[in-house]
Point group: C2
Chain length 305, copies 2
């Protein structure tokens, strides 16, 4: 089952050079999540042929415009495309008021229901859970209350070793074996689970961290994730600017990836001052070689890391 | 002095096929106005290298999202680009609240001042005037209170016929002649204005009409304009849909242009159902041949009509 992250927007506050404000589309086990929704997100989603009708949860990291201004347009388009399924929106406090006020002035009543969930970004909190995944906040250090998101698969079941199954085995026994239970007939051990099963597939994790000042404190929560997106608004020579605006440099993103021992790092939220991004990528790689740029339209497959 | 209309966005409610929601950039005698500001307007303005720092007046026709959702992003970018000049925003009631609420939640204080002007779209009203132009509302028929805009140059001064000026003439006399006043020395007529001047350049007018049901009533107000932009969301075969959604067809746009005896018509606000626009253009031209499509990036020069 896929776990894929597609970069929809990679720009910092001012969209330039064909780059668009923050937005990512996640497909995890056929759940389709949107993380942040900067201006023109719906245009970018259509451009990359990502199915907006499949999105059921939207997570907004904070209420700076470059992280949510595409939301109203996306909602109107969902409405015009006759969506009826409920939509969950998770964000710091205020986004529900912003949406409802604009619906009021456009005299619009959407033909689907929105569940608004406000969360306090300053502490770790599980926002979403179903049978396969959880989404948890990652408190970040920024000018506004801001949170990243950790999307984690739950522990998976044992896998049957189909080569060893016997034609005479009953289905009810196979189900038991898959749950890790040995099968008895009275006191007689018939089948031992460990003999017929393989270890579960690993549970994959993706951490999204934008926007934030450098904060080694978060390394513990994201330790060993398969993929980390970390903002790298500036290069290290602009560290003063990074401190002032509570953003990170490419080197710092690499340092955090190294400290947290993640498998792969992608960097984004590039400042408008950088037309070319090679130097920025090289700076991050000088600390953490397994780094890529969050290039728009690119899909990162967590199994291909 | 230029009077140019550049199409920034030409799409109806759902942006598709590389078309973007409504927005036009007007340069009239070095005044730079924005009309409507759909999502991604700032991205399109940058793409066409239109100078956003020169925009001092923004006119919003109504509060459907596809006509104003690009405004917050544009304001934030003006702020980040260190604008300090005042900005005037004209719109139906509510836009000021929408902007102020979002500034509040992003804890932003713009480093320039915005003058908000709410207007009642149901009656004709002059919104703006300076020494060279006026901007007046054109009441439209739509689901929300909606207004088009008539941008008109004021009457221009007589032009001096420089070939006939005499080396001995005093500057103060020349100024009088240009104002249409004959020059006397006591009771003696020295120079007759009509002898030294040519008629003024014509005062040009541009009418922007989107979104609206077909409404012949507005022909009087826009009679003889140099350029008319009229929405043509649908083709005539979708007339029922046009009535239901209070939009116009390409044929109706042509009919209005014909009735109002305008010099040229451009049509836009195309429905997402039309990938190719040739049929739509041909339908309008079958009624009013001097029609063009409002193609994004195209500049219409009112002197070249």
């Amino acid at each position: 089952m896929a776990f894929e992250v597609t970069i929809v927007g990679s720009s910092g506050a001012v969209p330039v050079y064909g780059r668009h404000p923050s937005c990512q589309f996640i497909n995890v086990q056929n759940r389709h999540l949107l993380i942040d929704c900067g201006e023109a997100a719906q245009i970018q989603l259509a451009r990359f042929q990502l199915p907006i009708h499949k999105i059921n949860q939207i997570f907004i990291s904070h209420l700076h415009g470059d992280h949510y201004l595409g939301l109203m347009g996306l909602l109107f388009t969902m409405h015009l495309q006759r969506r009826t399924a409920d939509l969950q929106i998770f964000s710091p406090k205020g986004l529900d008021e912003i949406i409802l006020q604009q619906l009021k002035y456009s005299r619009s009543s959407l033909n689907f229901h929105i569940d608004y969930h406000s969360f306090p970004p300053e502490r770790t909190m599980q926002l979403f859970e179903d049978e396969a995944i959880t989404v948890t906040t990652i408190p970040l250090k920024h000018k506004l209350p801001t949170s990243g998101f950790l999307i984690a698969e739950k522990p998976k079941p044992l896998r049957l070793n189909k080569l060893l199954l016997e034609p005479t085995m009953k289905l009810q026994y196979i189900a038991q074996l898959k749950q890790g239970k040995d099968v008895y007939d009275g006191d007689n051990l018939l089948y031992r689970s460990a003999d017929y099963t393989l270890p579960p597939h690993p549970s994959r994790r993706y951490a999204y961290c934008s926007d934030t000042a450098f904060n080694e404190g978060m390394a513990e929560q994201i330790r060993g994730v398969d993929l980390l997106y970390h903002e790298a608004t500036f290069m290290d020579e602009e560290q003063e600017k990074a401190v002032e605006t509570q953003h990170s440099t490419a080197r710092q993103a690499g340092q955090l990836a190294l400290k947290a021992q993640v498998k792969k790092l992608i960097v984004g939220h590039f400042s408008a001052r950088y037309k070319e991004l090679d130097n920025l990528l090289n700076e991050a790689r000088s600390v953490f070689p397994q780094t890529d740029l969050a290039t728009e339209g690119t899909t990162f497959d967590l199994d291909a890391i």
